[in-house]
Amino acid sequence: MLLGIETLLLILVLILAVVSLWIRDLMSSVVVFGAYSFLMCLIWTGMGAVDVAFTEAAVGAGVSTVFFVAVLFNTTRRIQFNPLDLSAKIFSAILCIGTGYLLMLGLSDLPSWGDPQALVNTNVSKYYIESAYKQTKVPNLVTAVLADYRAFDTMFETCVVFIAVLGIFMLLKKDGREPLKETSAKANDNLIIRVASRFMVPFIQLFGLYVVAHGHYSPGGGFQGGVILGASLILVAMAFNIEFVKQLLSIKRMLLLAVIGVIIFAGWGLVPVFLGQSFLDYSAWAALLPGTGEIMARSHSMLAVEIGVAITVMCGMYGIYMSLVSDGRFDKGL
């Protein structure tokens, strides 16, 4: 297992990384980077990290590539030829080799790869594996730890998405001083793409909702589902035009929903504070949700916060794409 397909994939990933940095065309470089991310998902799946792989497939290989393309499409994909600046290259190479050497130095006494008895696998994580289901009734341990034990991290992670979309919106938004350019806001005239995407979008959205709701039992959850929902909106924006998708979800409403998603998460955690428990202590919700004990209250609360996460992430991905592709004008897309 160790020298089999995973090693091959690792070497392939390395080659793709080199190629992506080496190609003298930005668009190709970005596409190769997408392939790199996708292979990375396969490696992670092989290591048993399905949730991470799912997220990376949606975020790294999917949406990040779209963001890159959105920027490059309206700017340039050309790379100017630079006179070879050897001293800078050598300096940075020495710096990196030094850093890498240090890291290698630390490898010598790490536990060997895949050792189930290493301290990293027995200390805290053992507790999660053994008691998470008893305490929360959620078989997907990743969801249980993500949305309950370390929910405080996850809340701030949602905030990070909100910060990104708000920051990008604020930076690119025009002051209203410069005149609006004449734009040809006409629909994409490729019939096949329009029909195909019109056919696909409902299914993508349904799948997104399933991923959000079924995160307790299968890989998935708020982030992955949110990214898929956001991607469906991005697909509409690409296949038709920005005006059309703005009717579905206007920019103002997008921002409002993004903040509401965070408020759902943080507010759900705030309620226990009013009931005299600590922040994010979902078991206090048992008093408010009829017919649930403390354990089921935790389980239901996780769904609630995942919905908040999904809303914010959906609006985040959609908002970042819309800002980037139209340079903050929201009038024309790809």
Binding site: L102, L105, L110, D153, F156, G167, V259, S278, Y282
Partner: protein, 492 residues
Amino acid sequence: MSMINQLPFYVVGIPLFTALIIGVLAIVQPKLVRLTGLVGIISGAYASLTLFLTVQQSGTKYYTFGNWPAPYGIEYSVDTLNALMILLIYAVSLLAYVYSLRSVIIEIPSNKHGYYYTLYFLLITGLIGITITGDAFNLYVLYEICALSSYALLASGGKRATLATFYYLLIGTVGACFYLIGVAYLFIKTGTLNMGQLFEHIPSIYFTSSILVAFIFINVGLFIKMALFPLHGWLPNVYTKAPISTTCLLAPLGTKLSIYILIRFYFHVFGPEYVFQVLNIQPFMVWLATLAIIVGSVYAIFHTNYRSTIAFIIVAEIGYIIGGLWIGHPDSIAASIYHILADSLMTLSLFMIAGTVLFYLKSEKTSAFALTFRQLRITSISLVVVFASIVGIPPTSGFFSKMYLIKGAFAMGHYQFIVALLFSSLASLFIFFRLFEAYFYSKPPEPAPSIIKEDRLFTLPMIGVSTGIILLGVTFNYWFSVISRIIPVGLR
């Protein structure tokens, strides 16, 4: 749980919820944004003051999120040092916020104010979060909250700010990633992220190379964030181009809190025994700090643009604190922590002055200061106070930190550090007289310039921070007694 026990949550939760409410108001009812912010920050400041007094009385306070016990959930453990830093963050951000009420109108287009303040409060949340948290990974997430919101806030300053912020984003990400690598090496050896549990585990792995690698990477990551000398390149560019409203909040706190986190890692994760006895790098670090002070001071002299000068003064001041910490004498460590407080206030004051000079006189050159002394009363008084403190003239706080730094350095025999301290004092004296000289030796323009009445929202925080600098100096006995209780037993 009583209100008192919820305090560790309140100090983080209040700015967070303020930010979220402002986020909604920015879209729904923009007129209420500034008022909500003021209410939020004042109630947060009140909570932090109560927390500080409670911790003083009854010792370390613990707070577990989701009611999960410590290594499994995320825990806050607030000791006196934390509470002191949180008090500092609130004091600075309250003054900076009042100042920004006016300066934002000048610098940021009016349709972006709501979004600006949402990010502003998320930045405050992040700054408090990194200070208070007891979990190494939670620290990373909140660091990124700080970083991302500060990128957006800094870049809203126009063309040059965008470029500077882009480089800051790259190097900031490298810093955060280095920190993450360091935590990875600790995590793989111990299997925990809770700082308290890390502290228990680390003595058993003192002599492995992975803890050394972890130590180096966490240090380098934080050095990048705090702009210690060879890694300070990003700081002057960012702080000179960004809007004053942002730098007033970020410059005093951003770099200093990274130093605080370093102190926390030394004292409560790696342990003073490992840092000061197992590792034998004290002389090297003191030399590095010495170099930082000298390089910062020299660059500060050579720049004539006011904001570049103060950016390099910050670089030198970081050298003070790191040097005092690594000297390892109880006096110098206490002085270092005290200097975090003093320097935050001084930096705040310096940038507020930069703001008023820039807004009223439209220039940052040294020559503009002739007019400053003639036209801007309060600004020039604060300038005198803050430079008195930077140079180290008795009733101000800068004097006491310098005195104890020198005392500690003398006791441990680091004479080069003392020389550097005195040199930097002379350099700041020189910088001050260069500003002052412009007043004496330039002819008053005809007709004599009238005195500009500074806006009250500018003068109020400037008076506040100048009073703070003097008050901190006058009451230094109290602060030193508080701080010396924090220093771990092994170092006393």
